[in-house]
Symmetry: C2
Subunit: 347 residues, 2 copies
């Protein structure tokens, strides 16, 4: 009944196997473009039967909305921007993070755009870029600082984002974080259980939030389990492995050298092992080491190193879910998650 091809025949779309648009569907169903658009959006003012018909045809010809069209008209980009620091590459965190995010985005319309920045000082640039050009609907950042200007900026603009790592600005925003406090605390416990007393921490660079957490867990462990903290500030997790090794060799040769080490990363631990063995020390005998570990490397090549795992891929998944939820308007306080050290051996 309703299928009158009424006033002024609609133009047939040009090429036969061009990419279908709303116009194509409109032509095929005899409806107006607007109707098709609204039908696909399940708008309340379109008849049930019509919606059915439109959906059928759309599925049949494999219609997919033109992203540029939508973006131009509505401003919605369907893009999540992952902003990363080149330092992360050194730690090898990028791969599993990207994979984790992708796993979640694959079930949505979102694409993942990766934007790295060079030096520490430029961390704000990519965020500004996204804000100014509207390049994405949401942003994921990592390596947060206690007072993070990127977080301040995006909060001020009310722009959806999620952070890998927490902040300390009294602002409530979505985050996912690994419990580095717990990690360091448990690490100290293990060392003391081995009879170690003079402990050092190979820690994050001091301007990052998780420095505070890891440091706090370490200090708390020192107090609770009755050990002594030996300072080790010449290098940190961002230093090159060569520098870490050199600094550790010096430390271990100094008077009052430590007999237990906590390493905040697996690759850092490798440098530490190289250093202590160069100094003729034996793991498990003269000294003990607890480390984060991502693969099975340490576990197999130096089983004496005690390890705990941090699941970065999970972090990627959580962060992706959080930004999307934020874009959809969920409250930030519901989008904060923590993950915990995984005892080596478990999945």
């Amino acid at each position: 009944m309703k299928n009158r091809l009424s006033e002024g025949a609609r133009a047939a779309p040009a090429g036969t196997n061009e990419r279908p648009t709303l116009k194509t569907i409109a032509f095929m169903t005899g409806l107006g473009i607007t109707t098709v658009s609204r039908a696909l959006k399940d708008a309340p003012d379109i008849g049930t039967e019509t919606k059915e018909r439109v959906r059928l045809v759309a599925a049949q010809i494999g219609y997919q909305p033109n992203r540029a069209g939508v973006r131009l008209r509505t401003g919605k980009t369907n893009v999540i921007s992952l902003i990363l620091s080149l330092e992360e590459e050194i730690m090898g965190l990028t791969s599993p993070m990207v994979i984790g995010i992708s796993e979640v985005l694959a079930t949505t319309q979102y694409h993942l755009v990766v934007t790295p920045y060079r030096a520490q000082g430029n961390a704000l640039d990519p965020v500004r870029y996204v804000l100014e050009t509207g390049a994405a609907d949401g942003v994921i950042i990592s390596r947060t600082e206690p007072k993070d200007p990127r977080v301040a900026l995006m909060m001020e603009r009310n722009f959806p984002f999620a952070t890998h790592g927490r902040t300390e600005m009294g602002l409530t925003h979505p985050y996912h974080d690994f419990d580095n406090e717990r990690f360091a605390y448990e690490a100290v416990r293990k060392l003391v259980e081995q009879g170690r007393k003079r402990l050092v921490l190979l820690q994050p660079p001091p301007y990052l939030t998780f420095y505070l957490h890891m440091r706090a867990g370490f200090e708390r462990g020192i107090r609770d389990f009755g050990a002594t903290a030996v300072p080790f500030n010449e290098v940190n997790l961002d230093s090159s492995l060569v520098d870490i090794r050199r600094a550790a060799e010096n430390l271990l040769r100094a008077p009052n050298a430590p007999d237990g080490i906590v390493s905040g990363s697996g690759s850092g631990a490798v440098a530490l092992v190289a250093a202590l063995e160069a100094d003729g020390l034996k793991l498990g005998e003269h000294i003990d080491l607890v480390s984060k570990e991502s693969q099975m490397l340490l576990q197999w090549l130096r089983p004496e190193v005690m390890t705990m795992r941090e699941d970065i891929r999970l972090a990627g998944r959580e962060l992706a879910k959080a930004v999307i939820a934020r874009i959809e308007g969920r409250a930030p306080e519901e989008l904060q998650t923590l993950s915990y050290p995984i005892p080596t051996g478990e999945t």
Copy 2:
């Protein structure tokens, strides 16, 4: 002189600190939108002085073309799509690859979109997606097969792309590859120099092109240096480290066990080391191992392992340059590069 604000005053753009568009510049200069557009494109029919003026204003207000507008009108997305397999994450190749690509794209207008696919069988899906939706101007793929359907498809459609790894289809396309033939050949040389005679290769999965190269180099080395190849087909570089270790333990306990191993990846080598030590063998004494190595892990924890480096970040840079050149119309035969094993110790 030319600055007449002539017939029918042009509408002033709305909000004061909205994002500037061509319209904004047109209003500020008193020119038409078309003129501004063409001026910024350095078109020949615009006066030199006018171009200057437009460029100045554009720079002043920080004009950046709206990507959605350009994309809708011209079809140019200014996007490069990196398509990766989840297997790559296991090898940890993603990070440096992404960084390398980004380094190059940062100097251009291109954005990097990362699209992973799940299982081996779905490798074509993301390529089809890009082709069908026009989601990118160019594509980078890796893990090529000798007859690679993705390459065939993109060649047929004349779509710009570059591959990490070569193919063997008689089609000329841009690629970057590591010389795995040379790597394996040199590895065999080193082992024979240590007096090793019965050699195995921990090789790539057989359906990938670089299996052929690595295998060929290995066999050639065996012939040239007079050694024997011991088969080892139960596992390959895509196998889990646990499986590799188990298979290697069995191999080493069998009669006629090898006394030299070539490993196509650093993490594979870790599993091999774990296996041979579990069997009570000593590196450099009962057996020798040559491996690719990306970090300093093996070098420091098992200096007895001989290593060569593959620069994945460089690969990323080369691939990015190649796709872009291809998009700009350069001939594919000019866009094929190889990189060579880097002796450990050099940068």
